[in-house]
């Protein structure tokens, strides 16, 4: 486009020249225009080539061909993939793809401060540069409290994410006096961009993790994220240089369909293609179609990334990349871990050495996965999978999807996913749900897939498909579906309903579980996982419709002082939906001293919203009929908070 404009401008100049000099100038003008255009194109090619040189080297190995080769024969599939968040999981950084504001008010860049360190980010033409603390200094053996941290200035070359947040990867340059052999290593920038909130946040504050006053280390992209956020990446960490290469950045066709070279070669013949077009069975053994695999193999295609797993042979992965290919048995190349009290698997033990609380953080006490993006762990624990034929593609579609957020199949939206097997409930839905048809309580997923997994500053649906059970909730602390909607009800109320409706055995409940609304307990003395899930539910529209919209604000306001930054942010997002809080402002990563005045204002706003007109009250909510909070009881609950450190690292 730019080249065309330049050529056009040069031609216009040529016409002027012709009018002044004569017809002989035509040839000269045309040559000039072509030269200028060619130079402009070359300039742009140089920019692209220069960025490409800093990225993992493109390499089509082991039969991979990249998505560009798929487009001409599968335009619809290509475009539906192109519109998905899978494609943009990893992208080269260019001005066109950038979601973050890197220019600042004066257009010269931004300066960010966190935990005593300053980071500057700015565009220089089409290049994004960062000036920050050397990420290698953050590695444990590099820390020294007495020395000022070394700084580096380097290019930001890759970005991850385009849905909830976008995070950035700098390529750390190798310096002359550098003892590290790290040329080619990509480190995460210490700041990320929250897309909906349109703001920068410290990257470490985007994870649910115990508060920390120091900068946390970032794993190099080469040995962590690439495994799932790109196709065919080989880390290849050499003794003096890192030679990471990749078939394609982002999650592309061959991540799910396997390497495509043999398929392309076979289908170069039009006769073969047209035989397939008109055959009753269009199965093609040269490529994997997850829809046509059996349920285990099909689910494992997604499970290669959407699970808590480790490569069995790490050295092989370092040298040749991920060994799993779609259609293979996942267990042969990767170990998928569930919750266990007594870990024995050597790869899990190795992981626990580096992250001792990895299992406690990722799983509820009943073994249900609670970190987002690991849905396969939930699926394989579900009866729909173990006793039925359910796979990921029973509900999701990677091409014919209704919207890119969840990629739910257009053919199976709403209850259709469940009713395709449980058709008997469809005839008389209220008889099964005890909720009116069309109400949120009548939707299958709201009861059987509650929002009890967490990641990226939101709660997401559990993919361990089960039924609400008060006894399990009481025993394990995993918030149950009923009370995530009926926030103003106690667990005893839920137990009573489940006994009456479904014949559950009476649950053994503590005095507190009987007396207090479940959401009040979770938000005040629950652990960090319970607090964040409950805080999110307080802003969930179906729960607000069922449980009222005012009373929760008091509990959300107190959560603004939570030690976990992410809980503060989630609570703030829910609080903004409460009456009188639409314009309330809060910086969840601000210093504690700056937070207190905001909480006082939140409490005042809540008081004005209630003002003798509480929408819910009672001792189970710690609210009197005037809407006043029982401060002493609330304080006692806060004092009994479960402060077990929780790390949910997606």
């Amino acid at each position: 486009m730019e080249a065309s404009l330049v050529i056009l401008s040069a031609l216009c100049a040529g016409i002027v020249l012709v009018r002044r000099v004569g017809r002989r100038a035509w040839g000269l003008a045309a040559i000039c225009a072509l030269l200028v255009g060619a130079l402009w194109c070359t300039h742009y090619d140089d920019v692209a080539a220069e960025l490409q040189a800093l990225l993992p080297a493109p390499a089509n190995h082991d039969g991979y061909v990249s998505s560009a080769s798929c487009r001409s024969c599968h335009p619809e599939a290509y475009h539906s993939w192109h519109d998905s968040f899978h494609r943009t999981m990893t992208q080269p950084v260019t001005p066109a793809m950038m979601l973050a504001d890197c220019r600042g008010a004066d257009g010269r860049g931004i300066e960010l401060h966190d935990r005593g360190h300053t980071t500057r980010i700015a565009w220089r033409g089409a290049e994004l540069w960062i000036d920050t603390v050397d990420p290698l200094w953050l590695l444990p053996d590099e820390r020294s409290a007495n020395e000022p941290p070394p700084r580096i200035e380097s290019r930001i070359v890759m970005a991850t994410g385009s849905h909830h947040l976008q995070t950035y990867w700098l390529r750390r340059p190798k310096f002359e006096d550098d003892r590290h052999s790290d040329d080619g290593a990509f480190f995460q920038a210490p700041w990320s961009w929250l897309i909906a909130q349109r703001r920068w946040v410290p990257t470490q504050d985007t994870f649910l993790a115990p508060p920390s006053s120091r900068l946390e280390r970032s794993m190099p992209w080469n040995t962590s994220c690439n495994m799932c956020h790109s196709v065919g990446t080989r880390p290849r960490l050499g003794p003096n240089i890192i030679e990471t290469d990749s078939v394609e950045l982002g999650i592309a066709c061959e991540a799910c369909h396997g390497p495509g070279e043999a398929h392309i070669r076979a289908n170069e013949s039009p006769l073969r293609r047209y035989r397939k077009h008109f055959a009753a069975d269009d199965a093609d053994p040269t490529i994997v179609n997850p829809l046509k695999l059996d349920k285990q193999r099909s689910a494992e295609v997604c499970g290669q990334c959407h699970s808590f797993n480790k490569e069995l042979d790490m050295q092989r992965w370092m040298d040749t990349g991920v060994a799993f290919r779609p259609g293979d048995e996942l267990g042969k190349t990767k170990a998928v871990f569930g919750y266990t009290e007594n870990p024995t698997h050597p790869r899990l033990l190795a992981h626990l050495k580096a992250e001792p609380d990895a299992l406690q953080g990722r799983f509820w006490k009943d073994g249900t996965i609670r970190v987002a993006g690991r849905e396969y762990n939930g699926l394989i624990e579900s009866k729909c999978y173990t006793h039925g034929e359910m796979t990921c593609l029973s509900c999701h579609a990677m091409h014919d999807y209704a919207e890119p957020k969840d990629q739910l199949s257009t053919a199976k939206l709403g209850d259709k996913s469940c009713l395709q097997c449980h058709a008997r409930f469809g005839a008389d839905i209220p008889a099964h749900t005890h909720h009116a048809v069309g109400s949120s309580g009548s939707e299958c997923m709201n009861c059987h897939m509650p929002h009890t997994t967490y990641g990226l500053l939101v709660a997401m649906r559990s993919h361990r498909i089960d039924s609400p059970n008060a006894a399990t909730a009481a025993k394990t602390g995993r918030p149950n579906a009923c009370n995530l909607c009926h926030l103003d009800r106690t667990l005893a109320w839920t137990a009573e309903k489940l006994t009456a409706w479904y014949g559950h055995a009476p649950a053994q409940l503590t005095d507190e579980q009987q007396r207090l609304a479940a959401a009040v307990r979770w938000t005040t003395n629950g652990d960090a996982a319970q607090r964040v899930v409950a805080a999110w539910a307080m802003g969930w529209e179906p729960a607000r419709q069922v449980s009222g919209v005012k009373w929760q604000a008091a509990f959300l306001a107190y959560l603004l002082l939570d030690p976990y930054t992410t809980i503060r942010q989630v609570a703030f997002e829910s609080l903004r939906k409460a009456p009188g809080f639409a314009d309330f402002e809060f910086d969840f990563v601000a210093r504690e001293g700056d937070i207190h005045p905001r909480i006082r204002e939140a409490i005042q706003r809540w008081g004005r919203a209630m003002a003798g007109r509480p929408d819910r009250y009672g001792p189970h909510l710690l609210l009197d009929p005037e809407g006043r909070l029982d401060i002493d009881a609330h304080e006692r609950l806060l004092q009994s908070r479960d402060n077990t450190p929780v790390r949910i690292i997606e």
């Binding site: 599968h74 335009p75 619809e76 599939a77 539906s80 047209y274």
Partner: protein, 158 residues
Amino acid sequence: MIQQSKPEAAIADLHLRVGWWSLLAFLSLGILIEAMHGFKIGYYLDVRNETRRLMWTLAHAHGTLLSMLNIIFALTARTAASGRRAPSVFASRCMLGALVLLPIGFFLGGLFIHGGDPGVGIVLVPPGALLLLLGVWSMARATRSGGGSGKDATGSDG
């Protein structure tokens, strides 16, 4: 006034008639295509119909250009008596065949598509292209300078 032999005149008339009427038809197809753009018709514009869009664009382009080529053919035939050899019946048939097979092949290919592959109607395109090549080759030969006669119009000497 230049007198034309009967066969040459008949060929010229035929190609003029066919050329202008087919030009009308394929320009109408172009207008239909533009209308589908204007009204954002998914059957033509959706990504899943990318192949149909390509095929019908090609049908429109080839049809229009071949119609014009047939008109040029007719005009060339009318100059046969001016000392150049007239186009042969063979060339005439080739040009007419190409006019039918090429755009119709592309159109039918776009009517029923299979992902990135056009429908089987596309099989009309290669013979159409061959006829076009033969027709143009025959025309090129016929327009060599040198004597011309009505004999050429019968195709008897190729």
